[in-house]
């Protein structure tokens, strides 16, 4: 049943369509919407199962019945289904949270369709094997997220959304330029076809491709909020309603990360550089290794430093997202430098897989933990009307479950065992240690210490201390507590039983580096 590949996307799309005319029947609309979220999770689960059980590990779907590379192809492999799984879990949690967490008028006007269309965009981005189609799903994802960020339409929200929208529109223009250039240079839009072409044609014929790939990379980095493309992040996350912030930080950011991994490691890793700066036999990754490293360091430093001094929980979480994405990019930088031909002293293929595995594990952990933290912040904001630290305090006395969930999420991001975040940190450190890179280790340690510094600060200012008047008189909606608690439990479970997540991430990392497997799966299907 290869139709399973397109199933999650269709579920989300039809849910969006179904919620559109139900605007007058609020309860029905919410029920349909949440049911759609559940169905999406089921569809993704079925797809994960199909890909994992299927011996090849690739499910290829050729839309409109046109064979690759001519039509648009969707590919579900270990890498994309891992990300889809994360998206399904976080999006369902955010959806349940939204039912009470978004003002009713807003839900009626447009929230549910926009939300599901965002999921459509995310799903399409994870699955597509066509660069232009990727652009389309990016647009779908971004268009909906612009609106969701500006949802409350106050002056702050409008400013944040404007910055978000303008910067990403610039990004879209750049992406279009890059895609046009890639088409002109390689004669194809299909990623597998492009990879095969780049691998077979001498480097001298495709010299512009590195620069074009750099343009694409910049756009993905913009989506992922990696320094120096992080400018939109703090304000947008702060302005967005909590479930949207959770989705942006938890999943949309990971779309950028996914795209970087997919394009750099699956497609451009096989492209050879002309002899020059990086010596003979260098591939594009030789160029990206140092670039990623610098960007990772910048992210860890800017995000970590920025978070320490914030006066409100949302701001802290937003800056933290910049810092945490640095931890995802850091092992990718090591992996890129370790690819054979990337100019590393000793190319170590094991390190490449390990680096990507670390990035994927960290992505999943960050997706769960950061969305959990945004939910707690949203629950407080919805109940108290503010998340400024000077108005918080004593939440752990008033609502131990909510506070406990926050604690678990914060510890997961710090990397305390046996939570899922610990293994993320462990793998990042391990990548640094195995690469023998003092810089990587120093940056990771500094970032981790900054993480402890800001989360202990948030905890002591917001959750301990004497309860403020606002906190003492407030009672948090049960659905918020439930969502937070379920995610907290899942973080503990994923940590204690880390094996399956590791297997999935490792398989994902292997899928990312298996260019030939990807090419064979996509192009072989038609021959």
């Amino acid at each position: 049943m290869t139709d399973l590949v397109v199933a999650p996307l269709l579920v989300a799309l039809f849910t969006a369509i179904a919620t559109l005319p139900l605007r007058s029947a609020q309860r029905v609309q919410q029920a349909v919407s949440v049911f759609g979220g559940v169905l999406y999770l089921v569809a993704v689960a079925a797809l994960v199962r199909a890909v994992r059980v299927d011996a090849d590990g690739y499910l290829v779907y050729e839309l409109s019945n046109w064979e690759a590379p001519f039509g648009i192809t969707l590919v579900a492999d270990d890498l994309s289904v891992l990300m889809l799984g994360l998206a399904a879990v976080v999006s369902l949690a955010a959806l349940v949270f939204s039912v009470r967490g978004i003002p009713e008028v807003g839900q009626r006007i447009s929230y549910h369709p926009l939300y599901h269309l965002m999921v459509v965009g995310i799903t399409g981005s994870f699955l597509t094997a066509d660069v232009f189609n990727l652009f389309v799903w990016f647009e779908v994802m971004l268009m909906s997220s612009y609106v969701l960020v500006v949802f409350y339409s106050g002056p702050d929200e409008t400013r944040a959304a404007l910055h978000y929208a303008f910067l990403n529109l610039l990004g879209s223009a750049v992406m279009l330029l890059a895609i046009g250039g890639l088409y002109a240079t390689t004669g194809t839009l299909n990623m597998a076809d492009m990879a095969e072409y780049l691998a077979t044609v001498p480097a001298s014929q495709t010299t512009p491709v590195l620069g074009l790939s750099a343009l694409l990379f910049a756009v993905f980095a913009l989506k992922a909020g990696i320094v120096p493309f992080q400018f939109w992040v703090p304000d947008a996350y702060r302005a967005a309603p909590a479930p949207v912030a959770a989705m942006l930080a938890g999943v949309v950011k990971k779309v950028g990360v996914y795209a970087i991994v997919r394009l750099l490691f699956t497609v451009f890793s096989v492209a050879a550089l002309p002899p020059g700066l990086f010596g003979e036999n260098a591939t594009f990754l030789a160029f990206y290794g140092p670039v990623l490293l610098v960007m990772a360091i910048g992210s860890v430093v800017v995000g970590g430093l920025g978070a320490v001094g914030r006066e409100d929980l949302d701001g802290l979480l937003a800056y933290s997202s910049i810092g945490q994405v640095g931890f995802i990019v850091l092992p990718l930088a090591v992996a890129a430098s370790a690819v054979p031909g990337a100019g590393a002293e000793i190319p170590r293929e094991g390190l490449v897989t390990l680096g990507i595995t670390a990035a994927l594990v960290y992505s999943v952990n960050h997706g769960l933990a950061k969305s959990l933290l945004f939910f707690v912040s949203g629950a407080l904001s919805r109940t108290l009307g503010t998340v400024r630290f000077d108005a918080l305090g004593g939440v752990s006395e008033r609502n131990p479950t909510l506070a406990g969930s926050f604690f678990v999420g914060a510890l997961a991001l710090i990397g305390i065992p046996p939570l899922s975040g610990f293994f993320g940190k462990l793998l990042v450190f391990d990548v640094g240690a195995q690469a023998g890179s003092t810089v990587v280790l120093a940056v990771a340690l500094a970032g981790a210490i900054l993480t402890i510094a800001y989360f202990t600060l948030a905890w002591s200012r917001g959750f301990w201390g004497p309860p403020s008047d606002a906190v003492a008189g407030a009672s948090v909606d049960r659905s918020f507590v439930l969502v937070a608690a379920v995610l907290a439990v899942s973080i503990v479970v994923l940590g204690v039983g880390f094996g399956p997540l590791y297997d999935l991430s490792y398989a994902g990392a292997q899928a990312a580096t298996e260019t030939q497997g990807y090419v064979d799966a996509v192009l072989g299907g038609s021959q």
Partner: protein, 162 residues
């Protein structure tokens, strides 16, 4: 407030004549799209310009009451509600026509047709035309048409209201 006195007779008369022509062109573009310049998108935009012309020359009230026969009952109702239903229908149509391919594939071709597989159906021995070509893509294009019409009119109406 009637807008009848605001615009000149010339304008109103010209619009009366031109709007049907525009709509007819739009439909023609929609139908010929598969073989000649045209298609759902351009047809949709053209339809919207026709509505825009009515808006400008006759006013919103006239369009709602006289042409669409709806009352302006609030932000999500009235003409805006109608436009909303239009693009919803368009989306549903486009997506369903894609889904139909899967279903047809399951039923008749052993699951061989993927999402949005299009086909062409030729009907022979039709008087005058001899043969007619009916592309299934037409349904998809129709969806595109309704989305464009509904969405652009929504924007026009909402912004115009302000």
């Amino acid at each position: 407030m009637s807008t009848d006195t605001d615009t000149t007779v010339i304008a109103r008369t010209v619009v009366r004549v031109v709007v049907p022509v525009i709509l007819l062109t739009a439909v023609a573009l929609l139908l010929q799209g598969h073989n000649l310049p045209g298609g759902g998108f351009i047809a949709g935009v053209l339809t919207v310009t026709a509505f825009a012309l009515v808006y400008i020359v006759f006013g919103r009230e006239f369009l709602q009451r006289e042409l669409l026969h709806v009352d302006d009952d609030g932000f999500l109702g009235g003409s805006i509600g109608e436009y909303g239903r239009t693009f919803t229908f368009g989306l549903a149509l486009a997506a369903s026509s894609g889904l139909a391919a899967i279903v047809v594939g399951e039923l008749f071709a052993g699951g061989r047709y993927e999402f949005i597989t299009q086909g062409v159906w030729f009907v022979y021995h039709v008087p005058v035309y001899h043969e007619i070509e009916i592309p299934t893509a037409l349904f998809f294009d129709l969806g595109v048409y309704f989305v464009v019409v509904g969405a652009l009119l929504t924007i026009l109406a909402v912004v115009g209201r302000e």
